[in-house]
Symmetry: C2
Subunit: 554 residues, 2 copies
């Protein structure tokens, strides 16, 4: 470590605060910068037509000379998903554990970025030096294997960043969280703790992943005569391992279905993160060679995603598997907020087809509840608390925990994305605010859909559009053709011919009024058409379709 | 009762099965028909722009000669909300308890239907004769006062319909559910039980409404120094009563805010269903004359509805109340499935403004859990079980309960809307299926938005629209003006001028191709324009806006 000097550490979250997802945080010390995580988020309900959302990284582009690399805590989309987009703008080496790098590589391959990007696999306990920083990877537990906390050593002090984590004393794969190391680092003095807030509102302890295995065993024992289908998160390798364990124990073959599930399990198997007994895995085409009670199908779709394998099976549009009476379907998942209705729809469809649907006790969270958060604070004993990962309500809940554990209110920093927190042993304060934001990805377009387009989509979605076309003679503004009125998404025209006919009269009256008032400016004419038609339609229907007058010059 | 003869009873649900809401069921015996409940449902996520959904009552119109009246179990929207629309098509007398009639009257007033509609207030324990039927109103408990179960006596046997209910031994207002009467009727022999399935997946007993009052007292005691704001369902009069009780106990004045809240409390107070101590209620304008710790504000918006009072306060767009640090906001509600994210958004906004948000233990359900359902089955001991009120998964859960209580599988009838169940002491089977469906209400339009319009709205919402206008000479199809291209909701044009320019070339090429192939039919020309532009845009953007070619004749 360099000798302590007078510079301060700067922590700049570029996303991930006051929201779930899009985690990305810059750490700066003098002319060194590292970035922890680079995730995407999924579109909000009002982001119509948007596929995914990535962070605005203007700040990284402006400081690319300082950037030493991306340090990634684990392989979930909200921590790695923006990498392919961000790397196209600011290329820097990536440091992560083996499975995390494996999952990142899959993404880079898809975007043709594998060749141009340096990736380095780091083991738990190992450190890397990046400019003024040393970063140590610490073993944690989470709903994906190979998750890490980070100890970020800088001349201004040490930051512990938990990443997403839980405390699992009996994990399915590998070791329990390295609580000793948290204690050891804490004993030496930690400037700030950045701790996962996702479950900070929930009292108690999150159950061990292993408890789900027992539930599977019980369900398999109770449903010996039926085909079993289990839906879970593609990235939860330990969960899939436990399903395979139960299948093996009960003499069943396993089929893996759903593109992302096949990908992740493939990568995990290749890298040794999952242990599949010989001749246990079969192809989906082979299922027909086995009796129902000899098979287990592990599938995507636990969130009711309409295009996922389970939803297609439930709707009878899956090419290879149909749900039939007697099937047992297990949801090994909880609905993520916002997905409740979609999940319920799939449960209903499965039930109607005669399946026995089980959606209780077959899931545990991957995030620490209140008692685990208290444990980490007690081991690390930071000077400052910086709650991360979560909506404002979650950050505030963690702030409450930190306060109850004795951290003074002024040392608890709830940041917003873009805040520049400068800190050292003497002080921590927000000194600046940099540009951040959400870049919307729609098809191939990155950032070409903004607020105006979204507002138009919302308007079109609500009430549709009415287009008024007319052709005017160049010199005297005489109507040569039209007005023609076309509508879409407004009202089914055959049922409303009178309304359309009257609308045409309204437009003609507006045109007459323009003539009388000698209005010849086309934009004024369009406004008059729009206003009078809008008034008429609102009076008649209490609806406000988008009205789009188009004048052609002939 | 008439002497038993050979006719059968017909039960025809016209809505409310396999869905939450839109409860309406016809009961027919020979030439007598009654309808139990007449509710609306709220639009699904894919019903863009739709305000509410009402049942298709073609069957009632076709059998209007038989219709003796509407019998309403309680005053929730999913049981009374379609009445104004349905009465315009099939007018018949309405029978319900006092508060229920009061709430129906409010609706009829709004729709100018009060004068033309006969309403009759029925007391619990009282019966009415409607053609071949006698209907007895039985006291139950629910999240709205004056809820009733119905005993429907017909020559073919007795049906017990619980309506929405819970068992509350210590209700806030009035009596507990009349379990004795359920037992007495059961003892005499019940043909079928139609029982609320909403909570049939939940084990145990629903807590008494009174327990929420204790929670309020505790919260009021703990937050003596802050203004208290409570959000709850407008129709839960007993909940409001308990908030008023706590306010009075702690010497606070009460303000009621939100249109539906003011309406329901007004009606309830007028009819004696709520007891407000003198000088407790103040107008919202008077709040400024009292210290924060002297006031309680009861408001709508517990479901995160963007236009409700609480959401407007949270977003600082409420005209009279702003959230400030130190406020205590209680959500006395659970999010209805689908509203989780909206509720969370409001909680985040309130927290950011410094409010202390409480959303635990301040609510109980209004629906019976498994043990209560078992209790009703054990009192009524019906021959047939017909689970009602709920999605398929809930109906199936109740079917499981009925089966476990000894009702044979073949006597448990999970119906779909439109099924005609014919039953008597010997048999119960679905013999027919009548027309049912969802009629969409959008503004003043009832049923003028169908699948085509919804599909267009979905398409417009996803990718927007691109309009191609050209003016052609009548005789030789020569392009006189255009092609002009206008887009909305597709891409922000200033950022994509090249794309629009290229699109114009693509259209011109398509027109040239038409010329070459001597295609003069306008619909063919439009198809060629649409196809080539669609291909081009997909290749360039991986998006599929709606493409609308308009040709003007000049």
């Amino acid at each position: 470590m360099k000798k302590q000097n007078n510079s301060k550490l700067r922590i700049i979250p570029l996303g991930g605060l006051e929201q779930i997802g899009m985690n990305i945080t810059a750490f700066e010390y003098e002319d060194s910068m590292i970035v922890v995580d680079c995730g995407l988020s999924f579109p909000e309900d009002d982001m119509l037509g948007i596929d995914l959302v990535i962070p605005d990284i203007t700040y990284l582009k402006d400081n690319i000379d300082k950037l030493k690399g991306f340090v990634i805590t684990h392989g979930h989309e909200d921590h790695i998903g923006a990498l392919p987009y961000v790397l196209k703008e600011v290329n820097a080496p990536i440091y992560a554990t083996k499975l995390t790098v494996g999952l990142i590589d899959n993404k880079l391959k898809e975007h043709n970025l594998l060749k141009g990007t340096k990736r380095k696999v780091i083991k738990h306990g190992q450190s890397i030096n990046l400019g003024a920083f040393r970063i140590e990877f610490i073993k944690t537990n989470h709903s994906i294997a190979d998750a890490s906390a980070l100890a970020i050593y800088s001349p201004a002090g040490t930051i512990v960043h938990t990443g997403d984590f839980k405390v699992d004393y009996t994990p399915v794969f590998g070791d329990a969280i390295d609580l000793q190391r948290f204690g050891e680092i804490g004993k030496k003095g930690v400037l700030a703790l950045m701790c996962d807030s996702t479950n900070a509102e929930r009292p108690g302890f999150t159950m061990s992943e292993r408890t789900v295995g027992k539930t599977f065993d019980n369900i398999f024992a109770e449903h010996k005569n039926s085909r079993i289908i289990v839906a879970t998160f593609a990235s939860n390798v330990d969960r899939v391992q436990q399903i395979i364990n139960s299948a093996y124990k009960f003499g069943r073959k396993v089929v893996v279905e759903g593109r992302s599930m096949v990908n992740v399990i493939g990568t995990a198997a290749e890298l040794g993160y999952i242990n599949i007994p010989d001749k246990t895995l079969i192809e989906i085409e082979q299922m027909k060679n086995y009796a129902d009670e000899q098979t287990v199908l592990i599938t995507t779709g636990s969130q009711g995603e309409s295009m996922a394998a389970l939803s297609r099976m439930a709707a009878s549009i899956h090419k290879k598997v149909s749900i039939k009476p007697g099937d047992t379907v297990i949801f090994s998942s909880n609905p993520i907020p916002g997905n409740e209705k979609a999940v319920s729809k799939v449960i209903n469809e499965l039930s109607m087809k005669g399946a026995d649907v089980i959606f209780q006790d077959a899931h545990v969270s991957g995030h620490a509840c209140q008692e685990e958060i208290k444990l980490i604070y007690s081991l690390v004993r930071p000077k400052y608390s910086i709650p991360v990962h979560g909506e404002y309500r979650h950050l505030k809940a963690q702030a409450g925990i930190a306060y109850n554990l004795g951290i003074p209110k002024e040392n608890i920093k709830i940041l917003s994305s873009g805040d520049v927190l400068e800190l050292d042993q003497d002080d921590a304060k927000v000194v600046d605010h940099v540009q951040t934001g959400a870049i919307l990805v729609d098809g191939l377009g990155v950032g070409d859909v903004g607020n105006i387009v979204l507002r138009d989509r919302q308007h079109l979605a609500e009430d549709g559009i009415m287009i008024v076309v007319l052709a005017l003679e160049k010199y005297n503004n005489q109507v040569v053709s039209g007005p023609d009125i076309v509508s879409r998404g407004f009202v089914y025209v055959r049922e409303s011919e009178d309304l359309m006919e009257e609308a045409r009269h309204v437009v003609n009256d507006a045109l007459d009024a323009c003539m009388e008032k000698r209005i010849t400016d086309w934009s004024k004419m369009k406004t008059m058409i729009r206003d009078s038609l809008s008034d008429y339609l609102w009076k008649k229907t209490k609806r406000s379709p988008m009205i789009l007058p188009i004048i052609m010059e002939v």
